[in-house]
């Protein structure tokens, strides 16, 4: 018996998925331990191994796990809480304040109380050395080696071991950065030096500086965490190296993650989109918008033509990260989002959240603000006695009181109507976000299926379908474990980019081929170090192109052995037409970046299948009925247990489908169909 194991560590819960070699899927959920995330992972591992062993009637030990992947939540958490160890930054003379000045914008344009974020690395730990490279790569001023040595000594004297280096235009010529790294290592051999031309070889000094600064500041965090966790797992019998999910949807070995933590920041949300992609592919869905609804926020993603879309830059708390990342749009709308009445008498929901503590009023932990979850409880859509399989009893009276006093009475509405209003407003906000992430790519929302998952995904699924612009909605089986499934359904991946802005007409295709080959070599080396066989290696090559004068580029995939300028150009025009609704074939085009995506393929897991309904199953019958509020009145509604569903079952709304970890609400006028993986497709009934 061998097994593959994934752990998605969230702020509140850790979800684990174990796939055994017999095709069995096992799921577990434990509380996260934010003080030391390792503890939560270890207890989750213990639990899932024993559960799985029991279910199979055969013990599964850590030694049987030949692949263990998990999300690097420690990095994101450290950034969100700004608990970062000291790191130093070295820049071109005159530019150490780039990190603090940022892009000078005021993101909250009517808010005089907004406080600009404190720099990731404080000014007294930002050092300058004389050197200058131009945008052409020409070295205008040589690196001041003596000055660099002096800076290295000062950093060493301060006891700082992690150093970020970002020189102007280093993407065009990395020689000075590389030489400076050598000098720093000569003076300070214990230092870990991150150079911008390695981590993010792209144009734009603030974004690049932010990326290296984040990397250098989180290296000590991820190293300590991975060292501790690896050791604990080895002590418990694990024989393999740990793998870490990346923001780009692929995984890396923990050895690589130790020097590139910045690539793992969005690993949890990225896992969700990759999991959704895997499930969508099994269901035969090509175009899917995903929404992962948690307690405080919702993460949107896009799968088009079967592939999760990526972007080349993302941001955490205003700090940009230059690295290919599964495109995620997070909004402050989740189960714990607080409803309120504004000064003008409008009903608003979020972005404030009751969080996990005190949580929604119905948790009975002292919260008295009405939340989305309280609305669901008030409407009887959420069963107060069956939350987390009954591990927690919800206080319906408290939920009702919060909504009556804070919303219904001030607005002169009925309590249940107000609760229904809260769900409509929050889902309208979610729909707005789904639209905006699709439109940024030029997609037509009506062609997309919406996949809703996460703890609160099923709860508002029916409302989302009703208020939203999609025609069909899917709630996958085990909606809380989609991210962990995603981590098991992906490959090793390393991304490489080289900025080189030049006119398309003047491009020497031999040089481009050479550049792509060079990036491929770097990729092959990295994969080889990860232990990937040459046969399992795969490379995608792409060029980023734009019309001269434009800022945003589009990515055109190319064939390294057949770089045909004319075809690449016409592919670009077509892509531009598709994305923005127009193309200018007569306009001059320029090349911005060459990119290589190096992939080490892993085998895909098999999802367990359920039977169609046969005679022994008997007819589908509800486990209970209870009055649930829909469209202005309480209606006696069927409640089904998820395990009672068989493949090809069809259920008419209104109904509620419960499983131990989530609740799915199908509205009147909607119908749900069950597939062989126990995913639910909800549509407007014909």
């Amino acid at each position: 018996m061998t097994a593959r194991l994934a752990a998605d560590i969230g702020g509140t819960f850790t979800d684990l998925v174990l796939l055994d070699s017999g095709g069995g899927v096992h799921v577990a959920k434990t509380l996260s331990t934010p003080g030391d995330f390792k503890e939560g992972v270890l207890s989750g591992v213990e639990r899932i191994l024993s559960d799985a062993g029991e279910a199979r009637g055969q013990e599964i030990a850590l030694a049987d796990v030949d692949y263990f992947v998990h999300g690097a939540t420690v990095v994101l958490n450290a950034l969100l809480e700004r608990k970062l160890p000291q790191a130093a930054l070295v820049t071109t003379a005159g530019f150490r304040d780039v990190l603090e000045i940022m892009r000078t914008n005021n993101p909250r344009m009517y808010d005089l109380k907004w406080v600009k974020p404190k720099p990731i690395i404080p000014r007294h730990l930002r050092f300058e050395v004389a050197e200058r490279v131009r945008h052409t790569g020409e070295a205008l001023c040589a690196l001041d080696e003596a000055g660099t040595r002096e800076v290295a000594r000062r950093i060493k004297a301060l006891g700082i071991h992690s150093v970020a280096l970002c020189f102007l235009h280093a993407y065009a010529n990395p020689a000075h950065e590389r030489r400076a790294r050598e000098i720093i290592l000569e003076e300070h051999p214990e230092a870990h030096v991150t150079i911008s031309s390695d981590v993010a070889s792209e144009l734009r000094e603030f974004e690049r500086t932010s990326t290296v600064a984040i990397n250098a500041s989180t290296i000590p965090i991820i190293s300590a965490y991975l060292d501790g966790l690896s050791q604990a797992l080895i002590d418990r019998g694990l024989e393999r190296e740990l793998f870490v999910m990346q923001s780009n949807g692929g995984v890396i070995t923990s050895r690589t993650a130790r020097s590139l933590p910045v690539r793992t920041v969005m690993s949890g949300p990225a896992g969700g989109v990759v999991g959704a992609q895997f499930i969508a592919n099994r269901m035969g869905l090509r175009d899917v918008a995903t929404i992962d609804i948690g307690g405080t926020s919702s993460d949107m993603g896009v799968i088009s033509d079967g592939l999760a879309r990526t972007v080349d830059q993302s941001a955490v708390e205003g700090w940009p990260i230059m690295a290919p990342t599964i495109e995620i749009l997070a909004i402050g709308a989740g189960g714990g989002s607080i409803a309120w009445v504004d000064a003008g008498g409008a009903l608003r929901v979020g972005p404030q959240s009751a969080g996990a503590r005190p949580g929604p009023a119905c948790y009975g932990l002292g919260g008295d603000e009405p939340t989305v979850s309280d609305a669901c409880v008030t409407l009887n859509r959420l069963n107060p006695d069956y939350f987390l399989a009954g591990e927690m009893v919800l206080d319906r009276a408290a939920a009702e009181r919060a909504i009556r006093e804070r919303i219904a009475e001030p607005l002169g509405m009925d309590t249940a109507e107000a609760a229904e209003g809260i769900l409509r407003v929050v889902t309208a906000n979610m729909n707005k976000a789904i639209r905006s992430i699709l439109i940024a790519r030029g997609f037509d929302i009506r062609q997309f299926t919406l996949m809703a998952f996460g703890g609160a995904g099923g709860m508002v699924a029916g409302e989302l379908l009703r208020i939203g612009d999609v025609q069909r909605l899917v709630v996958p089986s085990n909606p809380g474990a989609v991210s962990a499934v995603g981590m098991l359904a992906t490959d090793l991946r390393h991304d490489f980019a080289q900025s080189s802005v030049q006119s398309f007409g003047e491009v020497e295709w031999g040089d481009v081929r050479h550049a792509l080959r060079h990036l491929r070599t770097l990729g092959a080396e990295r994969l080889q170090a990860d232990g990937v066989d040459e046969a399992a290696m795969h490379f995608d090559d792409a060029l980023d192109l734009r019309y001269v004068g434009q800022d945003y580029y589009l990515r055109v995939y190319v064939d390294i052995d057949d770089l045909d300028g004319e075809r690449i150009r016409s592919n670009f025009d077509r892509l531009h037409e598709h994305t923005y609704g127009f193309a200018n074939p007569e306009f001059e085009v320029e090349m911005v970046n060459a990119r290589v995506f190096a992939i080490g393929a892993f085998e895909r897991p098999r999802l367990p299948e359920i039977d169609t309904r046969q005679a022994p199953h008997g007819p589908l019958t509800p486990k209970a009925r209870r009055p649930v509020f829909f469209d202005g009145a309480f209606v006696e509604t069927d409640i089904y247990d998820v395990t009672a569903l068989c493949a090809d079952d069809a259920i008419a709304g209104p109904c509620v489908i419960e499983d131990p970890r989530s609740t799915i609400v199908v509205m009147p006028g909607q119908s749900a169909a069950v597939d062989r993986f126990r995913n639910l497709s909800i549509e407007v009934a014909a």
């Binding site: 005159g94 530019f95 150490r96 304040d97 780039v98 603090e100 000045i101 892009r103 000078t104 914008n105 005021n106 993101p107 344009m109 009517y110 808010d111 005089l112 109380k113 907004w114 600009k116 404080p122 000014r123 007294h124 131009r134 945008h135 052409t136 205008l140 102007l168 235009h169 144009l203 734009r204 000094e205 603030f206 974004e207 009445v341 504004d342 000064a343 003008g344 008498g345 409008a346 009903l347 607005l411 509405m413 209003g421 407003v425 906000n429 729909n431 707005k432 639209r435 905006s436 439109i439 940024a440 009506r446 802005v501 004068g549 434009q550 800022d551 945003y552 923005y580 609704g581 127009f582």
Partner: protein, 607 residues
């Protein structure tokens, strides 16, 4: 104090429920952000694609500003003037599907300044005009006397570039290409502008497409029924904000630096009258309109900036609309600097005078809402233009950028450092690497916070910036700064910030100071140093936490001498730790000798 909220007259049976209101609003905001994405992604010039100097908005079928979201605040508050001027000339009843209108003239067409080109398009649904989509975008150059059309010393509107009254750009989907040709023939950077122009139109088309999708699902009735409720809600939110300000008459006055032609200080004054949930803001007492551009805020800018000042005190997460402006009453005598008469120049005054006006309102209200106002900021947009002939391409190049500086300290925190002006919202800088790639004639040698520039205070101001450019060829320079003479004010005992200035060849015998100028020839090899002011402090410096003073010393933002002299804090030069005993003694001694209150940058507040 409790005062009755004035509710708008809506018969109860017509009232739209609060849930529908939010659902419709979310739909409209979605359309606007989709317009913005299209405009940004398809534009060509750095000012649109990097700086985001544009705004997209929607109007209802009666031409009322229905919704706006992100963008440039000063634009948002002005767009109703643009649409009013279009409708006056091309009545709504005569508009046809596929029509597009454009304008830029402040005097006849509600424009802000001429670089800002407005486009407006009616959206039809089932044969009926249901909405108008509009956007405003800053074009790098609009002709006139200097590259970039940003001349502090322009003496009339003709010198500020091509004038576009409200014109029909497209009729039933057919573009008036000859009009476009006239436009492009008057600009120094036609290629960029042509691309930006396509982007503005693409944004309108996006609005049309998305509106149709929305109407298909929700019906036109939902929109028309909700329009009034949206505006009424906007009004109630602002009224609630005004309610919190005690009734009374509040005044402030001061001086702006100069108008670009003359450095004679410009008297400026405001009287704010709060009466229940209405506010009246009057600029009587301000000086007569000036000869130079930097001294005049066109009436459209005056109104828009005043609206924005009020938005700072309001819950505006939803963006304002025409209803939001109903309780705000604005007046300024014709012929004064805040309401100049044709053909007064007004381009650079938009930034210089417009920003001053917001700060005057802050000063007037400081004593009654001390927790909501901030100390003086670095002032205007601080725009600098460097333009000329690009030796490589032989074409004209224009580098135009709005710079950032320090904002004033506030009740709860220090002022932000290096942030764009009060009127610029979510505008970005141009990255040095992007600027050097597009404009290789400029080499940036320093991009830094200006040490020592922040006004001291319990909460100090933010730091201004210091940016050095080495000229790799020759160019012409234009600059429009304020707050060089009259520095960013402190509040409640906070000190003023250090002023703005632009130096050519600093530290050499040929050093020259420029504050408001254009057509300045800068030679190859010369250094141009652009410095923006630091924000004013809030509260007495003697009340600042010594640990924060020590932190600024450690970070090299202030000197140990400043810590001692301005804050009364003794810092150990070796460890940069504050010496608390020595500090207590210093502060006690300083309290003994100070009898006078710190200067207030030529501004007076009275009640």
């Amino acid at each position: 104090m409790a005062k009755a909220v004035h509710l708008v007259d809506v018969a109860p049976e017509e009232a739209v429920d609060p849930v529908t209101l939010e659902v419709v609003r979310a739909g409209l905001h979605s359309i606007i952000s989709e317009m913005s994405i299209t405009l940004n992604r398809t534009s060509y010039s750095t000012i649109l694609r990097e700086i985001n100097d544009y705004s997209c908005v929607l109007f209802d079928s009666r031409g009322r500003l229905l919704a706006q979201a992100e963008g440039i605040p000063i634009f948002n508050g002005s767009m109703n003037f643009v649409v009013d001027a279009v409708i006056e000339k091309f009545p709504l009843a005569e508009m046809e599907e596929g029509d597009i209108f454009l304008s830029n003239d402040p005097y006849t067409a509600g424009g802000t300044h001429k670089n800002d080109i407005n486009v407006v398009m009616p959206i039809f649904w089932q044969g009926e005009l249901v909405m108008l989509a509009a956007n405003k975008a800053h074009h790098l150059d609009i002709g006139g006397k200097d590259p970039g059309s940003w001349s502090a010393d322009a003496r009339n509107t003709y010198q500020e570039g091509l004038c576009l009254p409200a014109l029909r750009l497209a009729r039933r989907g057919v573009m008036n290409e000859e009009l476009v040709e006239v436009l492009m023939a008057n600009l120094r950077t036609p290629t960029l502008s042509r691309g930006d122009f396509s982007a503005q139109i693409a944004a309108l088309k996006t609005a049309e497409l998305r509106t149709h999708e929305w109407l298909e699902k929700n019906g036109a009735d939902a929109l028309t029924r909700t329009a009034d409720a949206l505006l009424d809600h906007g009004e109630r939110v602002v009224r609630a904000a005004i309610e919190r300000i005690p009734d009374g008459v509040y005044k402030a006055s001061g001086f702006a630096d100069g108008d670009g032609v003359s450095d004679e200080p410009i008297p400026i004054a405001v009287t704010v009258t709060v009466d229940g949930s209405d506010i009246h803001i009057d600029y009587s007492g301000s000086g007569a309109q000036r000869e130079g551009s930097a001294g005049n805020a066109h009436w459209v800018v005056t109104v828009s900036m005043t609206r924005q000042a009020m938005m700072f005190f309001t819950d505006t997460a939803l963006g304002g609309n025409e209803g939001s402006y109903r309780p705000i009453h604005i007046s300024a005598p014709p012929g004064c600097v805040f309401n100049p008469e044709y053909p007064a120049p007004v381009t650079t005054g938009m930034g210089n005078m417009g920003t001053r006006l917001i700060e005057l309102i802050f000063q007037a209200l400081a004593d009654v809402i001390p927790e909501e106002v901030i100390g003086g900021t670095f002032g205007c947009f601080s725009c600098m233009t460097l333009g000329g002939k690009d030796p490589e391409t032989d074409g004209e190049f224009v580098h135009f950028e709005c710079y950032s500086g320090g904002w004033g300290g506030r009740h709860h925190a220090d002022g932000n450092s290096a942030t764009v002006s009060l009127g610029s919202g979510d505008a970005y800088n141009i990255p040095v690497e992007v600027m050097e790639t597009t404009t290789p004639i400029l080499l940036c040698e320093k991009f830094a916070l200006q040490e020592g520039s922040a006004g001291a205070g319990r909460h100090r101001g933010g730091f201004g910036t210091e940016i050095d450019y080495r000229m790799m060829g020759e160019a012409e320079l234009a600059i429009a700064l304020d707050r060089e003479t009259f520095k960013p004010y402190g509040l409640f005992g906070g000190l003023e910030g250090q002023g703005s200035e632009l130096l050519v060849e600093p530290g050499t015998p040929s050093e020259e100071l420029y504050v408001r100028a254009s057509g300045v020839k800068v030679a190859e090899g010369a250094l141009v140093r652009h410095r923006t002011a630091g924000g004013g402090g809030y509260g007495p410096p003697s009340e600042r936490d010594p640990a924060l003073v020590a932190d600024d010393c450690l970070n090299g933002l202030i000197t140990i001498e400043d810590a001692r002299d301005l804050y009364g804090v003794a810092i150990d030069p070796g460890t940069f730790a504050p010496d608390l005993d020595a500090t207590a003694a210093l502060r006690k001694a300083q309290r003994g000798q100070s009898g006078c209150s710190p200067p207030r940058s030529g501004s007076e507040r009275t009640q």
